[in-house]
């Protein structure tokens, strides 16, 4: 019976290590729980959010400051997007959100540029200024048809 106690302790340590590994991954990598507690959400509407996905980065000056948490079509046939921004980042009310691409063939992300206003955005506010995704196909076709006219 003494040896069973030992087995119990070792199994306990094993479970502890396993659960620690799980929670480390959850907090550090998945940012489960961490984000919701330390971030605030902003809404933005884009005429074209082509290529954006849930989980996409929100970056300012090349630094990640949050994530895209939801994307849906609103009734005006525009893309309504919710962004989760880290609490320590303050954005002015006239900050600009733009859909951009990392590199030429990289993935889409939301680029934020700071505005000039003194007031800051708080949880649930809507970003007024947005720039839609630049669609390379549209650009190319524009040039082609311009040439024909």
């Amino acid at each position: 019976m003494q040896s069973y106690r030992k087995v119990e302790v070792i199994v306990g340590i094993f479970v502890l290590i396993g659960v620690l590994s799980m929670s480390w991954m959850a907090i550090k990598l998945g940012q489960i729980g961490g984000m919701g507690a330390s971030g605030y959400s902003l809404k933005a509407t884009f005429a074209d959010a082509g290529g954006l996905r849930v989980g996409a980065d929100v970056m300012m000056a090349g630094v990640s400051i949050g994530r895209l948490s939801s994307i849906a079509l609103n009734d005006d046939s525009e893309a309504a997007v919710t962004l989760e921004i880290q609490n320590d980042v303050e954005l002015s009310t006239d900050a600009i959100a733009a859909v951009r691409t990392k590199g030429i063939i990289g993935e889409r992300y939301v680029r934020m540029s700071q505005g000039a206003d003194d007031e800051v955005l708080t949880d649930g506010d809507e970003l007024e200024e947005t720039e839609s995704a630049i669609n390379i196909e549209d650009l190319i076709s524009k040039y082609i048809f311009q040439g024909k006219e």
């Binding site: 094993f14 290590i17 799980m22 990598l29 990640s64």
Partner: protein, 266 residues
């Protein structure tokens, strides 16, 4: 030269064999489901088998820890090395962290972990139960008013189901750490880019998918290996055959189930 009648009869024989094989497989799947369902029902009945679950966690879970750590470390190292030279061609070494993390978390952790569990613990489950059958130990338990379903099968299925997600998480962490060492310390990828990309690309769904896979795989390994042992032919060759079968069948089922689960989560 074979005439048409002979060809036809060969075809019929072949088809008959295929049909028989299918029927037998379905019968076995049914038998295994019933056996594990009956056994798992004892989870809710007295006497409580907690002590035996802990003992099996020790034998199957803790026992597989070392091999998981080694496999995890080398998987992470190889992925980093291989990934680096592929990505370097496109000048996108910075993606190394996310590439390694996603492969390990979603696929390699659960699948390699399950395969290691089969090799280390699954085969021993089948052999042990098979030998208990051969040496009449299962009957002896019956005669001592101990239900072998509750005492022998149930704790093993529960133990593999609980242990694999834990083992896979340890595998993942060690794999990621090893890929960091190779990627950043040895190959000189920027540490910030490596970790930043890793954190940026991994979404909670990746983690959930990995854990859910590990849970399902652990359960499947437990069910198949206990079934194979319990229904082993009570001879020495029977147990040997059952052990081989258990490893083959559970490995193949894991790979098939992995495809099914992956297609659900993408």
């Amino acid at each position: 030269m074979m005439n048409t009648v002979e060809k036809q009869s060969m075809m019929v024989q072949w088809l008959g064999g295929l049909g028989r094989w299918c029927l037998q497989s379905i019968e076995k799947i049914g038998d295994a489901s019933v056996l594990s369902a009956v056994s798992l029902a004892y989870f809710f009945k007295r006497p409580w088998q907690g002590k035996h679950i802990v003992l099996q966690m020790y034998a199957l879970g803790v026992g597989s820890l070392i091999i998981m750590a080694i496999t995890g470390a080398f998987t992470g190292m190889v992925l980093a090395l291989q990934g680096y030279y592929t990505l370097a061609k496109f000048g996108s070494e910075s993606l190394l962290g996310s590439g390694v993390a996603l492969s390990i978390l979603r696929e390699l952790g659960p699948v390699l972990g399950a395969l290691m569990l089969i090799g280390r613990a699954g085969s021993s489950i089948t052999a042990e139960i098979g030998i208990m059958r051969v040496t009449e130990q299962l009957d002896a338990l019956q005669m001592m008013a101990i239900n072998p379903h509750a005492r022998v099968i149930l704790p093993r299925i529960i133990a593999t189901t609980l242990a694999l997600p834990l083992l896979v998480s340890i595998f993942d962490v060690i794999g990621l750490a090893a890929s960091y060492v190779v990627g950043v310390e040895l190959l000189g990828v920027n540490s910030g880019a490596f970790l930043g990309e890793m954190v940026a690309k991994v979404i909670p769904m990746d983690l959930y998918a990995g854990w859910l896979k590990a849970l399902c795989f652990g359960f499947l390994v437990g069910v198949i290996c206990t079934y194979m042992g319990y229904r082993a032919e009570p001879t020495t060759e029977g147990v040997a055959h059952a052990t081989t079968q258990a490893v083959v069948v559970s490995s193949v089922s894991i790979l098939i189930l992995d495809y099914v689960l992956t297609s659900f989560f993408l």
